[in-house]
Symmetry: C2
Amino acid sequence: MPELRKDPIHGRWVIISTERSRRPSDFAPEERRSVGGFCPLCEGNEDRTPPEIVAFRDNGTLPNTPGWSLRVVPNKFPALRIEGELDREGEGIYDKMNGIGAHEVVIETPRHEETLITLPLRDVKNVLLAYRERIIDLRRDPRLRYVLVFKNHGVAAGASLEHSHSQIIALPIVPKRVSEEIEGAKTYYNYKDRCVFCDIIRQELQQRTRVIIENESFLSIAPFASRFPFETWILPKTHHPSFEHMDPSHYERAAQILAETLRRIYQVLTDPPYNYVIHTSSFPEVDMNYYHWHFEIMPKLTKVAGFEWGTGFYINPTPPEEAAEYMREAK
Amino acid sequence: MPELRKDPIHGRWVIISTERSRRPSDFAPEERRSVGGFCPLCEGNEDRTPPEIVAFRDNGTLPNTPGWSLRVVPNKFPALRIEGELDREGEGIYDKMNGIGAHEVVIETPRHEETLITLPLRDVKNVLLAYRERIIDLRRDPRLRYVLVFKNHGVAAGASLEHSHSQIIALPIVPKRVSEEIEGAKTYYNYKDRCVFCDIIRQELQQRTRVIIENESFLSIAPFASRFPFETWILPKTHHPSFEHMDPSHYERAAQILAETLRRIYQVLTDPPYNYVIHTSSFPEVDMNYYHWHFEIMPKLTKVAGFEWGTGFYINPTPPEEAAEYMREAK
């Protein structure tokens, strides 16, 4: 059983993942690890994943057989386990709990060579609708406090499978980075009676130097205090605290700007490795007037080194205004 | 001039480094970047670095010429600049200041092939004494609020030069990760009237499962909530808030345990890339009874991916008890 442990100084939680337990000899240099070969996520190999939780399928096809355009399956090597009671325990000055949670894989396409930037808009929209459906379902579990949707693209960004997929992890606690973001937004709201994200959007649309692209409902920007070169956020233009409670009409526009933003990153940086995450409002406070859901896309171009680990302070060698200009000019 | 910018939501600062400004084509895939070739840090190439700030030299040798065992020089491509006034400014809802600070390089040996694990104990001790001297000097600058000593070893850990060196960055603000650590330790102290680090040491010496090695004054442990496989902390056994104010007799024992710990990491993990940082008390509060200086050593064996970026929550596939056992058994 995986274990959640809390650092007694920072209050930072970590998952000690026994499912994935690795000995010194397992940390092979990167070059030796291959992402090619047999792919368990391709159409026809449905028996090589745990049984599907959700799938978008052709009429008349059976679960866990071909005929799908998207599948959501449990992760075969989950960081957390869905079965069991949430036990909290002390060990002297330390605190821990057993690793209850969910870890799912969204297989975005049956075809190995497709990605979010080559798929038709309808399929990208379905990826977002699958995220939405899973978040809403996982929120019903009273043991769970937060759901994170994320994507690792490319080996250097942590992807262990090449086939286009994203992941969903549901946690029994609200993670530190999210609660800090929520607290920060709340403090701003208490002081100004305005949503900080709405204020950012207003200023960005006025200044225009960091705006990359926009459509009727969304904009993508290089944030003012970007941690990484070409870091990009996508935000809904009007106030929406949670991704999963948007009006259904918004998902197509969200898919459009996500795919177009990723296409520009691909073009400007020649298919870089990247991560993206969706930050949505935490349980159980929905309909918060100070939080505003968004995508954060982080191309993996520089190495996080001693300085960043020691301080939580990032050195970014590309001013966001320049990054935005490159991205705006990409075709 | 580099710029410090603050994220309006998290309060997180970043350095937008114009000195190191990089365009899309500068982010070449890793394989193409070489660390071999000419080395500006080797003995005989003193004219290829900015003039030395401090050096440990043979009697009768001139500054910036051969005959040294250690040199400290300004970084040729500094993330921050020491010249100028500290200007703070708003830009609409955003806050920024100009990038005042110091960025120095500690060249640990004149010989390219040496490292902290091959150097004689006396030279490792001198590296620590050089850190001490620079921290004490930089603390005199009233514009600066924190000094971080760190080391990047290996390309994957962010080292751009192979020659054994560490870096020192002095900042005009106390960075978030450090102030969180200080705040966490303070909260614990207010509640228990004891230093949290002292309590950790007491419990670790009792349980023994996470202790790696120890000497008269220090111990090294795999921390209970390790973020990374084989993460290792070195702590003074008795309460010392700041690295730079220890009794001079302690530096030799600190050098001994640092070198021996790095030797074991080298052996168990076959010379992995790693980062280390020294966390010492922040300005201007010295002699705090709740803070306890320490080394944090982070071998770079796994990739930080979307989940970690999205949550600040780490998945560690190697339980620290197992890591400590491997390290204890190494010869």
